[in-house]
C-alpha cells in the first residue's frame, strides 16, 4: 500500500512514513557556507570518529581541496572555489590594488586532463585517489603583487581582479525521499527513527544500486570491503544524545546540527540577515520540501549556484517516476506476450 507522498513530494513525518510509530523529532544539518573557513576539521573529525579509511592525501589541483568528492571513504568533503568576483557587499579594496587573477582557469585545465583519464571520470574521488602519472604541478596561490610593482610581472593594474574564495563542507543530504534507500534491494539502507538514512553494514551485499540511485553522487561502494558507505549522521552518537562529530568539531559553526524544523527557521533568518547586509547571492539549497527529493535533512546556505560547488541544481528522486516506469514496462511486457502468441497463431501448420 502506498500512502500519499510516500514516493515523492512533501512529507511531514518521514520517520512515521517508514514505520517508526514513536520517534524523536527529525534532525539534520544546516551547513552555512558563508562562515566556512575551509579548515577541514569536519573531514578529520568524521574520519576519526567513524574510522573512515583514508582516500589519498594529495592536493588535486582544485584549490585547497584534497578529497574531491563525497564517496565511500569521504563522508564530509570541503569544496574550494576561487573566483575573481567580489563577495557581495564586501569592500576588500582589492579592485584598487594590483592583484593577479585567481588560479581557477589554469586549475580547471590541469584537473580536466586528469579527470579525462580517470576510470570513473573523477567520480571515484572520495572513494579512491585518482591515478596521476604526471609529476606535481605548481598552480600558484591566490596572491597579490606588492603595491608599486609595475606591469612587467603581469600583475599590473590591467590584471587587477576582485577575488573571493568559496568553501563548502558537503555531506550526505539525508533526503526525505532518498534515492539510495528506495532502490536498495536488501533493506541494508534504512530510515532511522531520527529521519536519517543509514546503511546496515552487516546486511549490504554490495550490489551497487544505491550508488546510481543517489542524485547527489554521495554514496559509493568501497573496493576495500565491497560494501556501500556514506555518512550516518553519527547514528551512534545520536543515540547517546551527542551531536555528530563534524558539527562538534566545526570551529565557526558553519555546520549546525539540530531539529530540522528549527534549523530551517534559523537558516531563513540567516539568509535575511545576509541579504540585508548586501550579500544578495546567499540562497538556501535543499531546505524546500517541495523540491525533487521532498527537501533534504542536511541543507546548505550557498553563495553561488549549486553546480559551482559540484551539487546538482535540481535533483529529483528517481522514484518519482516509478509508477510511470512500471506502467511502460507492463505495456512492453504485454506487447512481448502478444507477439509470442501471435507468432504461434501466425505460423499454424
Amino acid at each position: 500500500m502506498i500512502r500519499e507522498n510516500s514516493l515523492y513530494g512533501p512529507l511531514d513525518d518521514v520517520a512515521a512514513d517508514a514505520g517508526h510509530l514513536e520517534h524523536p523529532p527529525r534532525v539534520g544539518f544546516f551547513t552555512d557556507t558563508s562562515v566556512c573557513i575551509g579548515c577541514k576539521a569536519c573531514e578529520v573529525a568524521c574520519k576519526e570518529w567513524n574510522l573512515v579509511p583514508d582516500d589519498g592525501f594529495d592536493l588535486l589541483g582544485m584549490s585547497y581541496d584534497n578529497s574531491g568528492m563525497l564517496g565511500a571513504n569521504t563522508w564530509r568533503h570541503v569544496a574550494f572555489v576561487e573566483q575573481d568576483i567580489p563577495l557581495g557587499g564586501q569592500r576588500t579594496g582589492i579592485a584598487e590594488l594590483p592583484t593577479g587573477p585567481s588560479g581557477t582557469p589554469v586549475m580547471t585545465e590541469v584537473v580536466a586532463a586528469r579527470l579525462r583519464h580517470a576510470e570513473r571520470g573523477g567520480s571515484e574521488l572520495g572513494t579512491n585517489p585518482l591515478e596521476v602519472h604526471e609529476p606535481p604541478q605548481d598552480l600558484g596561490m591566490p596572491s597579490f603583487s606588492r603595491p608599486g610593482d609595475d606591469g612587467a610581472d603581469g600583475h599590473g593594474a590591467e590584471g587587477r581582479t576582485d577575488f573571493r574564495w568559496l568553501m563548502e563542507s558537503d555531506v550526505c543530504k539525508h533526503c526525505t525521499h532518498a534515492g539510495c534507500l528506495d532502490v536498495c534491494p536488501t533493506g541494508a539502507l534504512f530510515r532511522t527513527e531520527f529521519g536519517t538514512v543509514v546503511v546496515q553494514q552487516d546486511i549490504c551485499n554490495g550490489c551497487g544500486y544505491c550508488v546510481s540511485g543517489c542524485p547527489y553522487g554521495v554514496i559509493d561502494r568501497s573496493p576495500l570491503d565491497g560494501r556501500a558507505h556514506k555518512c550516518t549522521l553519527c547514528y551512534d552518537r545520536l543515540h547517546d544524545g551527542l551531536e555528530p562529530a563534524c558539527a562538534k568539531a566545526c570551529p565557526t559553526d558553519s555546520i549546525q546540527f539540530g531539529e530540522l524544523d528549527e534549523l530551517r527557521e534559523r537558516a531563513n533568518r540567516r539568509v535575511a540577515t545576509l541579504h540585508d547586509r548586501g550579500v544578495t547571492e546567499a540562497r538556501l539549497y535543499g531546505e524546500d520540501p517541495d523540491d525533487g527529493v521532498g527537501g533534504t535533512g542536511a541543507f546548505f546556505l550557498l553563495l553561488d549556484e549549486p553546480e559551482v560547488y559540484g551539487l546538482p541544481p535540481d535533483p529529483v528522486v528517481p522514484t518519482r517516476d516509478a509508477p510511470a516506469m512500471w506502467r511502460a514496462a507492463g505495456i512492453a511486457a504485454a506487447a512481448f506476450l502478444t507477439a509470442a502468441v501471435g507468432s504461434f497463431l501466425g505460423s499454424r501448420r
Partner: protein, 337 residues
C-alpha cells in the same frame, strides 16, 4: 549585488575538458554554457561492470526462449520446445552467475531474499526471477532425462510436472524481459532515467529478436516458424523504439547515445538487426543456413544493444554536462512559468 548582475564572462564556465581554458586544444564544437566544480562529475559513475549489461542480455534471452518453448509445447513442436527450454536454462544460469559475481559481496547474494521492496526494481527483479527460474529448470531437466530413466517413478513425475511448471514460468517471462529496463531507468543516471518511457520497449523488442534468433539457429526451419515471427516482430519493435528513444531525449542527454562507444555499439546493433530481420523475412524459411546466419546476427545485435545502452549511461555520469544542463534548464523554465 547578486550573481546575476555579474558579467557572465567573468564567471568560469567550462565543459568537462576545460574548453573554456583555451590553449590546450581547439574545439570545433563550442563549449556548452554551464558551470561545474572543476569539470568533476556531479553523480557517481555506476560501479557495475560488463556483467550487468551481459545479464540484461542473457535475461532477455532466457525470457524469450521460455515463451517460445512453452508455445512449442502447446503447439506440438518438440524440437523448438527442447531448444527453447535448454536455451532458456543456459541463459538463466549465465544470468545468475553474472548477477552474483557483480556484487561487492557475492557470498551475501541471498540477502536479496530477505525483503520484497516494490520501490527497488532489483528486489522486484529478484522475485520475478525466483518465480521464473525453477519452472525453466524443471522443464529443461525433463528434456535432458535419459530414455531409460523415463519409466521410473521420478522420471514420470518429472515429465508430468514439466509442462505446468514450464507454462507457469512462461507467464513470468515477459516480466523478466522488460523489468531490466526499469532496473536501469530507476537511477539518477541521465541517459537511463531520461529514456525511461522507451527503454522497456527497446529491451523487450531486443529480447524477442535475440531469443527468436537463437531458436532459428537451433531449430530446423520447419519448426522454427514461430521463432521467425517472434524474431521479426521483436526486431521491428526494437528498431522503432530505439528511434523514438533517441528522438524524445533531451538534446544534451541524447549525445550520450549518439557519440562515442555507445553510439558505435548501437549502430552495429542496428545494422545487425536490420540484416537479421531481412534474412528472417526473406530467406530463413527456405534455407537453414540463412536461418542460422540471420538468427545469430539478431543474437549478437541484442547483446550490442544492451552494452550500448549501458555505455550511454556510464558516459552520461562521467561528464557533469549531462546532469547540470537539463536541470538548469528546468529551473529556468520554472522561474519563467
Amino acid at each position: 549585488m547578486s550573481t546575476s548582475d555579474v558579467d557572465p564572462a567573468r564567471l568560469v564556465r567550462h565543459g568537462r575538458d576545460g574548453r573554456r581554458a583555451g590553449a590546450v586544444q581547439r574545439e570545433v564544437v563550442p563549449a556548452a554554457d554551464f558551470r561545474s566544480y572543476y569539470g568533476r562529475p556531479v553523480i557517481k559513475a555506476p560501479v557495475w561492470e560488463w556483467k550487468v549489461p551481459a545479464y540484461l542480455f542473457t535475461g532477455g534471452l532466457a525470457a524469450g526462449s521460455a515463451v517460445l518453448a512453452a508455445g512449442a509445447d502447446l503447439s506440438g513442436r518438440p524440437a523448438l520446445r527442447r531448444a527453447g527450454w535448454l536455451g532458456s536454462l543456459a541463459a538463466l544460469l549465465a544470468s545468475v552467475v553474472f548477477l552474483v559475481t557483480d556484487l561487492g559481496r557475492p557470498e551475501r547474494f541471498h540477502h536479496m531474499l530477505r525483503v520484497a521492496k516494490p520501490t527497488s526494481p532489483m528486489s522486484v527483479g529478484t522475485w520475478i526471477l525466483t518465480a521464473f527460474g525453477p519452472g525453466v529448470g524443471l522443464a529443461a531437466i525433463a528434456e535432458l532425462l535419459p530414455r531409460r530413466l523415463r519409466p521410473t517413478v521420478l522420471g514420470r513425475l518429472l515429465r508430468r510436472s514439466a509442462r505446468p511448471a514450464g507454462l507457469a514460468s512462461a507467464v513470468f517471462a515477459p516480466g523478466v524481459a522488460s523489468y531490466t529496463a526499469v532496473l536501469l531507468s530507476h537511477t539518477a543516471v541521465p541517459a537511463w532515467h531520461g529514456a525511461r518511457e522507451q527503454l522497456p520497449f527497446v529491451f523487450s523488442g531486443s529480447a524477442a529478436a535475440a531469443s527468436g534468433g537463437l531458436m532459428m539457429a537451433l531449430t530446423p526451419v520447419e519448426e522454427a516458424g514461430p521463432a521467425r515471427w517472434f524474431a521479426a516482430s521483436g526486431a521491428v519493435g526494437e528498431l522503432a523504439a530505439s528511434k523514438v528513444l533517441e528522438e524524445r531525449l533531451h538534446p544534451v542527454v541524447r549525445e550520450a547515445y549518439t557519440t562515442g562507444r555507445a553510439h558505435r555499439l548501437r549502430r552495429c546493433s542496428e545494422g545487425l538487426t536490420v540484416a537479421g530481420l531481412a534474412g528472417t523475412v526473406l530467406g530463413a524459411r527456405r534455407s537453414r543456413a540463412v536461418s542460422v546466419g540471420s538468427g545469430l546476427a539478431l543474437v549478437v545485435a541484442g547483446a550490442l544493444q544492451r552494452f550500448g545502452v549501458f555505455e550511454a549511461g556510464i558516459a552520461s555520469t562521467k561528464d557533469p554536462r549531462y546532469v547540470v544542463v537539463p536541470q538548469r534548464e528546468r529551473l529556468v523554465q520554472r522561474s519563467h512559468g
